[in-house]
Symmetry: C2
Subunit: 259 residues, 2 copies
C-alpha cells in the first residue's frame, strides 16, 4: 500500500521522516504545495479547496492511503477529504490529541501552532471529548515557521521567541505541550528546554507515523510492500532554496520533482 | 486615469498609502494575492505567471496604469508584464535605484529585502548602470515580513533581528540603505535607528508614488480625476486577520473585497 502524504510545503517531511524510520521500505509519495504555501494564513474555504486538490494529485500517483501532514489542513479540511474520497485518511491532529490525553496528569494541556491551527480551536474541541474536564490552552506562534525555515535552529533570537510564546502556558500550569506544527520537531530541543522538565511534549509527526503503522499492521498491508523503496517527492514550485530546506526536514538527501 | 496596484499580499498598501497622500482623490484599484502569498520564496516562472494574472485582473477592473508594488515581482516579472500589456507599468525597484544613486556620496549602497529580491541581484545590476563603480551589498532579511505581519513593530526581538541584519552592511560602510520590501516602512524607525545617522534610507513606497505622480502630471492625467475617491481593494483570499493587518499597512480604515 503506497502512502500519500501532503503538506502546504516541505514541513510535512518531518512526518515522512518518522514514517521511513518506523516503516522502512514502505512505498510513499509526497506532495508539498510550495506554490501556495503557507496555508496557515488562508481562509477555511481556500484551505479546504487546496487540500482536496492535493489529495487528488496523490491518488493519481497511486496512493492508497492519505496522510494530511499539514496542521492547518488537518484542523480544517480532514473531514472534507474523508468525505470526498474513499481511501483511509490520516491527519496529524487526532493522534496528537490521543497522546496528549494519555500523558497528561493534571488535565491542563498547552498547544503551540500557527495562527490558523490555534484559531481553528480543533484541540479545544477534541481533547475534552476524550478527556472530560481537560483545560486546553492554545498559543499561536507564527514566527516559529520562518525561524525554522531560515535555519535559525540554535540562535539566541529563536530561544527568546520560543520562551516568550511558552511562558504564558507554563504560568497556567500545563503539564503537556503539543507541538502543533510540522516545523517544530526541528527546534524540539529549544521547545523542551523552555518548557522545562515538568512538561511532557507531544510530537505529532511521530504520533501520526505510529497511527499509520498500527493501521497498516492491522490491515495486513505492512508486510512486504509491493515495491519497497519506491519514494517520490513532488512540489508545486521548486525555488533554489527549497531542496536545501527539504533536506533539513527529512534529515537526509532528497530529490524533489516539480508536479 | 485609474491606477491599478498589485502585490503578493497586503504589503503593497504602503505604496497605496503614499499614492493617496501625494495624489488625493486619484481613482485606484488594488489587488493583493493573499491566496498565494508570499511570492518571495517562489520560483521565477511562478512569480512571473502570478504577476501576469494579477495585472490582467486589474486591467479588467479598469486600471489604465499598473504599479507592481511587490519587490519580488518587480525584480523578476516587470519586463514580462510590460511586454504582455500595452499600458504604462511602474514598479518599486527602478525609482529606488534612481534615488539611491542620487543620494549616495561614497557609492556604497546596501539593500535589505526578502531572499527572492536579494537573490534576483536586480539592484546589483541596475545601480552600477546609473552609477558606475557603485558597490551594492544585499542582505536577505526573511524574518522581517513575519515580524511586521505579527505587529511586533516595537519589540525587542525585532530590534535585535534588524540590528543583526544591518550590522554587516554598516561594517562594509554603506552610506545608503534601500528598504527593499513593502513591509519595511512599518519598522522604518527601527531600521533608521539601527542604521545610524550616517546612513540615508530609501523608501521604495514613497519613491514609486513620486514616480507615478510625475508621470501623471507629465501626461496631463493628474488634474481632475474622472471619478475622484473611487477606490477598491481586492484580495484573492480573505482570512479573519487580513483586514486588521491591512489597516495597519494603509494607515486607516479599509474595506477588502474577495476577488
Amino acid at each position: 500500500m503506497k502512502i500519500g502524504i501532503f503538506d502546504s510545503g516541505i514541513g510535512g517531511l518531518t512526518v515522512v521522516r518518522e514514517i521511513r524510520r518506523l516503516m522502512p521500505g514502505q512505498p510513499l509519495v509526497y506532495f508539498g504545495d510550495t506554490a501556495r504555501t503557507p496555508y496557515g494564513t488562508k481562509s477555511r474555504a481556500t484551505i479546504t479547496r487546496y487540500a482536496l486538490e492535493d489529495t487528488r494529485f496523490l491518488l493519481e500517483q497511486g496512493a492508497g492511503i492519505i496522510v494530511i501532514a499539514c496542521h492547518s489542513a488537518s484542523s480544517i479540511a480532514s473531514a472534507a477529504v474523508a468525505n470526498e474520497f474513499s481511501v483511509p485518511v490520516f491527519e496529524v491532529v487526532s493522534p496528537s490529541v490521543e497522546q496528549a490525553a494519555r500523558v497528561t496528569r493534571n488535565r491542563r494541556i498547552g498547544i503551540i501552532g500557527t495562527r490558523a491551527t490555534i484559531e481553528s480551536r480543533v484541540y479545544d474541541h477534541k481533547i475534552p471529548e476524550l478527556l472530560p474536564g481537560a483545560v486546553v490552552l492554545g498559543m499561536p506562534c507564527p514566527l516559529l515557521v520562518p525561524l525554522v525555515e531560515e535555519g535559525w535552529l540554535k540562535r539566541r533570537e529563536t530561544r527568546m521567541i520560543v520562551r516568550k510564546y511558552i511562558r504564558p502556558l507554563k504560568e497556567r500550569q500545563v503539564d503537556t505541550l503539543v507541538m502543533g506544527c510540522t516545523h517544530y520537531p526541528l527546534i524540539k530541543d529549544i521547545i523542551e528546554a523552555k518548557a522545562g522538565k515538568r512538561i511532557v511534549t507531544v510530537d505529532p509527526s511521530l504520533q501520526t507515523a505510529l497511527a499509520v503503522k498500527r493501521f497498516l499492521e492491522a490491515s495486513g498491508d505492512s508486510a512486504e510492500p509491493d515495491s519497497p523503496g519506491d519514494e517520490r517527492y513532488f512540489v508545486s514550485d521548486l525555488a533554489p532554496a527549497t531542496e536545501e530546506i527539504a533536506r533539513r526536514f527529512l534529515g537526509g538527501k532528497i530529490k524533489l520533482e516539480k508536479a
